[in-house]
């Protein structure tokens, strides 16, 4: 089985989807000739021509707006926001239009689009290249929201997202594009070629939207997380000798409630991790879900470890990032409670 980085897996997913369905078109800023600033669409224009993969002017609202129109015509557009931080001009098109088109027209028109966006920090990107805006999408009726953590899932989920009949927001934590970042920024990153989730099958396969993955089975406590922090949680657990069960949610809407309940019912303890700011973050939704469904299994309060409620700082990036030390301390506190 070939080994791929997450960038290569995403590129391969595009290839497979475009090969299998000529309605799939890919566009965005620097996406065509250059192949994207993170190289996720490299080679698509060469292979499929500039009617299937092309550059767009720097106007996110135009990109998503045009994608909605193309989808209404019958195409399957998969567009890239160069950074999740740049999606705000497109937010109205995503929230007021793509998300609601099926409902408001009673199925007369639909918007099967995918909006990909590199998210998260850890690359010294400062406040405009580091954000994790997933909660701004999970709060919206009619959107599916995916956050990927590894090459295998990224390929299977992206193909599933493109084939899905509804709009899908596809967040790609850029810190794990090239390896399973463990949160220790001062150490070399293990490449995906040395990680089992870097083994990516050739050809078509899907990872269904709405299914979580048990990243690490364990019995001491449950970690609910997604994206980069899946790997940070694993590091923290190993460093502290905690037998954590780490659930990689993968899809936030629809949420795999069964996987959450099954795990917390088993461990009785739960921590919730994400890189996005704490207040009104998706962790609040997870925490409420566990409280509503697993209260009588809980032996300790649910704890959240998240980004602070500040803009993502440039020089103080590693003070902001919920790294293995903060996560490890939280694990010990929850076990001691």
């Amino acid at each position: 089985m070939p080994s791929m980085t997450m960038v290569e897996a995403i590129r391969d997913a595009h290839m497979v989807a475009m090969e299998g369905d000529d309605r799939v078109v890919v566009f965005g800023e620097d996406v065509g000739f250059f192949g994207g600033v993170f190289r996720c669409t490299q080679g698509l224009q060469e292979r499929f021509g500039d009617h299937r993969c092309f550059d767009a002017p720097i106007n996110e609202s135009a990109i998503v707006g045009a994608a909605i129109g193309m989808a209404a015509y019958g195409l399957r557009p998969c567009v890239e926001m160069q950074f999740a931080d740049y999606m705000y001009p497109a937010y109205d098109q995503i929230v007021s239009e793509a998300a609601r088109l099926r409902h408001r027209s009673a199925g007369d028109f639909t918007a099967p689009i995918v909006v990909r966006m590199p998210s998260g920090g850890g690359i010294f990107g400062g406040q405009t290249h580091s954000q994790s805006p997933e909660a701004l999408f999970t709060h919206v009726a009619g959107l599916k929201t995916v956050v990927v953590s590894n090459p295998y899932d990224a390929k299977g989920l992206l193909i599933a997202a493109i084939e899905d009949d509804d709009p899908v927001i596809f967040l790609e934590p850029k810190r794990v594009y090239n390896g399973p970042f463990d949160g220790h920024h001062d150490r070399p990153v293990v490449p995906w070629s040395k990680h089992p989730l870097g083994d990516v099958p050739e050809g078509h396969y899907t990872v269904p939207l709405g299914e979580a993955r048990v990243h690490r089975a364990g019995s001491d406590l449950t970690v609910l997380t997604y994206g980069t922090l899946v790997h940070v949680a694993q590091t923290a657990a190993e460093e502290r000798g905690v037998d954590a069960e780490i659930i990689d949610l993968r899809t936030l809407v629809p949420l795999d409630v069964d996987a959450i309940v099954e795990s917390v019912a088993k461990t009785g303890r739960c921590i919730v991790l994400h890189e996005a700011t704490l207040t009104s973050g998706f962790g609040a939704e997870l925490s409420a879900t566990v409280q509503e469904r697993c209260f009588y299994h809980l032996e300790a309060p649910i704890t959240r470890v998240c980004g602070w409620d500040t803009p993502y700082p440039h020089a103080l990036e590693w003070s902001y990032f919920p790294g293995p030390d903060r996560v490890g301390r939280a694990m010990e506190e929850v076990l001691a409670a």
Binding site: S61, G65, A67, I68, P77, R102, R104, F109, A141, G142
Partner: protein, 376 residues
């Protein structure tokens, strides 16, 4: 006014953004290069379309005053633009309208009773009571779902047109916006996309001079016209008398032929006047000058086409009154039928469980649970 060749260089039509295309003169004669090739029957059909829109609007406003419906928006004085353009385009083309293009549906032969069912939000509402009155959707009649947000449909229309071109199709898209909403970012987003990809799209700006309470210059700024907006994008832009049915048909046909000949987008600024209130929630007496309508120089679109047909010897008062009676009866019959299906006021609306349908193609778990909680 000269009518340019379809492939005329944009610099050579540039002055038309400051001028005004008209066909009907003050005596009701069709004059000049823009006279469209329409038979008397076509013109009578256009008159009928416009009279139907006006009669429909008047009846719906009365239904609002009677407490039957929650909200309405009329197109009084602007009927020619949507009616004329619809007849100039083809089945298979797609309009991305605003809330004041009911003429597109009526001229396309969409069932009036369906429009009323939507307005009443009743059990037969094709949109299942989910949208404010008049925010129709009718893919079968080339009418994209109206949002209620302003300007969002403009880049969508460009995308639809791009998709048609990418697939080798000859269908074109038509984007609609009011002059006030042309200040929105999405208007400019659409123009840059249309210009960059030379999309087969008509970009309509209906300049009815009022954005609720603010006059047109708040959106126009220091430009002389809204058609000026096209110039910076090298999109041929033409100002047209929007109260002249023959001009609306001719200019729309010109733009449509350009698009279908792969010559790219055309921007059309339609000059008209919003004679009524913005909506039933508006009181224009607070902000509008008295007698504005009477002093508006482009007169009334129905009166002008009627005058033209009369001058041709093809129309008279008896025929006009007879047609009016026929339309009124048609609308009363439709309303009686729509009324029989209930309304949002009577409570005969789709069941609560239906609000969970169509959020997604398939009902996910959390919505299944919530539907179970709301009951039937």
């Amino acid at each position: 006014m000269k009518k340019p060749e379809l492939d005329e260089k944009v610099e050579r039509v540039a002055l038309m953004r400051k001028q005004l295309v008209r066909v009907l003169d003050d005596d009701g004669q069709a004059v000049g290069e823009w006279v469209p090739d329409l038979s008397v029957d076509d013109k009578i059909a256009g008159l009928r379309d416009m009279m139907t829109v006006r009669t429909f609007d008047a009846r719906m406003l009365r239904a609002h005053r009677q407490g039957k419906i929650s909200f309405y928006m009329q197109a009084l004085g602007e009927e020619a633009i949507a009616c004329g353009q619809q007849r100039a385009l083809r089945p298979g083309d797609m309009h991305f309208p605003t809330y004041r293009q009911q003429g597109l549906l009526i001229a396309a032969g969409y069932p009036i009773v369906q429009m009323m069912n939507q307005i009443l939000s009743n059990e037969e509402d094709p949109l299942k009571g989910r949208q404010l009155p008049v925010l129709y959707s009718a893919k079968s009649h080339g009418f994209f779902s109206i949002s209620g947000n302003l300007a969002t449909q403009y880049p969508q229309a460009v995308g639809w047109a791009m998709a048609s071109a990418m697939r080798g199709d000859t269908a074109i898209a038509s984007a609609w916006i009011g002059e006030g909403a042309s200040a929105e970012n999405d208007f400019h987003a659409a123009l840059v996309m249309a210009s960059t990809y030379q999309a087969p799209v008509i970009l309509n700006i209906v300049n009815n001079h009022w954005a609720i309470s603010t006059p047109e210059d708040f959106a126009r700024g220091a430009s002389a016209t809204f058609a000026d907006r096209g110039y910076g994008f090298s999109i041929p832009a033409i100002r047209v008398d929007g109260n002249d049915y023959l001009a609306t048909y001719a200019a729309s046909q010109w733009a449509a032929e350009r698009a279908r000949a792969n010559l790219g987008p055309t921007l059309l600024e339609w000059i008209t006047l919003r004679r009524g209130a913005h909506s039933t929630s508006d009181d224009p007496s607070v902000y509008r000058p008295d007698h504005e309508s009477e002093q508006f120089p482009l007169a009334d679109p129905i009166d002008r086409l009627r005058q033209h047909l009369t001058a041709l010897g093809a129309w008279d008062d008896d025929r006009h009154e007879s047609l009016q009676r026929e339309i009124t009866a048609e609308i009363e019959t439709a309303l009686a039928e729509a009324d029989s299906h209930g309304s949002v006021k009577s409570g005969a609306v789709p069941g609560p469980a239906t609000m969970f349908d169509d959020v997604f193609a398939e009902l996910p778990r959390h919505l299944r649970e919530q539907r179970g909680q709301v009951g039937e």
